[in-house]
């Protein structure tokens, strides 16, 4: 009888102290719960990609590297373009293209190709971001307008967020040794300009805007197209929307 009482008391006090420590330090995942879209009139940024319009010219990748001081090596990218080739036997190959790639050897005479297309990718700026939840030091966070940023002063470079991102949108910057990712060109959009990749896209395959705006290229894009997001089953609530997306694209 006495033994059970002491055990329960000890157990309860441990539970309570754990909660207290978590409450004081305020680094529990509950801090990163999904953010709701703010009311009309406040910005809530989103991104649109017309898969049908992308010509795979990689101007966007070039512009992003110029604008955001991303290392020039092809391995480090904030945005990239994938080339999908689905063959008649049902196999699909995916390859990220690089700026200045030689023209590819495949031609129409390759009868094994069923269909082929390009898919631009970037950080999905999820409303419920996995990367923010896992950051042990609160260095990555979501702004009021729905952009996920990295605080490079407090990032310890543990790469947990790089692992956690289901879209592979993050990389470790080789100079600063901190996590780096697409910011929707936060310095540009806060001045009312377009992100660099949207600015240079020659076919308007990339569209950017405020999801709360009544009339904007972005809201028109959402109204006029059949829309899909990447890996919707993960409940990350991505804010990069794809029009005419093939089911093979994940």
């Amino acid at each position: 009888m006495n033994g059970r009482r002491t055990f329960l008391r000890g157990f309860l006090s441990v539970l309570l102290s754990g909660g207290a420590i978590g409450g004081i330090l305020r680094i529990l995942p509950s801090r990163a719960d999904a953010r709701e879209a703010p009311p009309k009139g406040k910005k809530w940024y989103g991104f649109g990609v017309s898969v049908d319009k992308c010509i795979g010219c990689a101007r966007c990748m070039d512009a992003c590297k110029n604008e955001n001081n991303v290392p020039k090596e092809p391995f480090f990218v904030r945005t990239w373009v994938e080339r999908y080739i689905t063959r008649k036997n049902g196999q699909t190959t995916v390859k990220a293209i690089a700026p200045g790639d030689e023209a590819t050897p495949e031609t129409v005479s390759d009868k094994t190709i069923l269909r082929s297309f390009f898919v631009p990718k970037l950080c999905n700026q999820c409303a419920s971001p996995a990367c923010v939840q896992v950051c042990p030091v609160g260095a990555t966070f979501q702004t009021e307008d729905g952009v996920v940023l990295v605080n490079e002063k407090t990032c310890i470079g543990c790469r947990y967020c790089i692992q956690a991102c289901p879209y592979g949108a993050r990389y470790l910057h080789p100079k600063t040794h901190t996590a780096d990712k697409c910011t929707f060109c936060y310095h540009r959009i806060s001045k009312g300009q377009l992100p660099a990749c949207v600015e240079v896209c020659p076919t308007q395959a990339r569209i950017f805007g405020d999801l709360n705006a009544a009339a904007s290229p972005m809201s028109r894009f959402l109204r006029m197209n059949k829309i899909h997001t990447l890996k919707p089953g993960l409940n990350t609530e991505p804010k990069v929307f794809y029009a005419n997306l093939d089911g093979e694209v994940r």
């Binding site: 010509i55 795979g56 080339r83 023209a103 129409v108 310095h187 300009q193 600015e199």
Partner: protein, 252 residues
Amino acid sequence: MGKLFEKFPDPLARLIVVVAALFALGAFAYFVLIPKPVKDVEMQWADAIKREKARPVKYAGFHVCEECHGEIQKKKQTGYHKDLSCETCHGPAKAHTENPDKVKPAIPTARTFCPQCHAFNPSRPRGFPQINPVAHNPLKPCSSCHNPHDPKPPTTPKECSACHGEIARMKAVSHHVQLECTVCHVAPQQHKVSPRSVKPSKPQVREFCGKCHGKDAKEKLAANAPKIDMGEHGEKYVCWQCHYPHSPEVEQ
């Protein structure tokens, strides 16, 4: 104080004092010694947002260029490149807007530049103008025939393949390689001058294909063409709902 300790055995009393001192020290360190910005993530985030917003802009944006280069802008407005931003080809130009005389944006003239968009690539969407950079006027710079601000074919094209290259290349490796475009399409002369307002004709009925592929087709061209019974084959569909005429699929 002394009374309190009398209740406990001596070792426990000492322990309580030590633990209390540690707690006090911890609290002092946390609340007094550690400055607020180190503890408060909200402050760190606000700071990070401020830093992010202060980063330098390198692409000036499409509406800036026309202030000085209005003439080029006007020319570009009506051409196929009207939706292109100047910086798509000329590169980041914010530095040029701040110091127009000293910093000049790039003018890409190499023959490798335009094919980044216009080299033939089967993954590109249908109808996007593409060329084969090896066969298309080798060694000639693109701008010697095409004005990049208002690109169009330099002369009225004689061959259909000048504009419909993708279809031409597809047809060239198909069973229809022997057929001229004009066997199936009637292209008015005016189509070559204003391609979008005057369009060539397309076959409308099943019987058109039947002239070669019908069971009792008499067309000389089609001596070896696969034959089908027009009454049984395909039922309610027109031929091109299943077969792509520029590259007809056949059982292998």
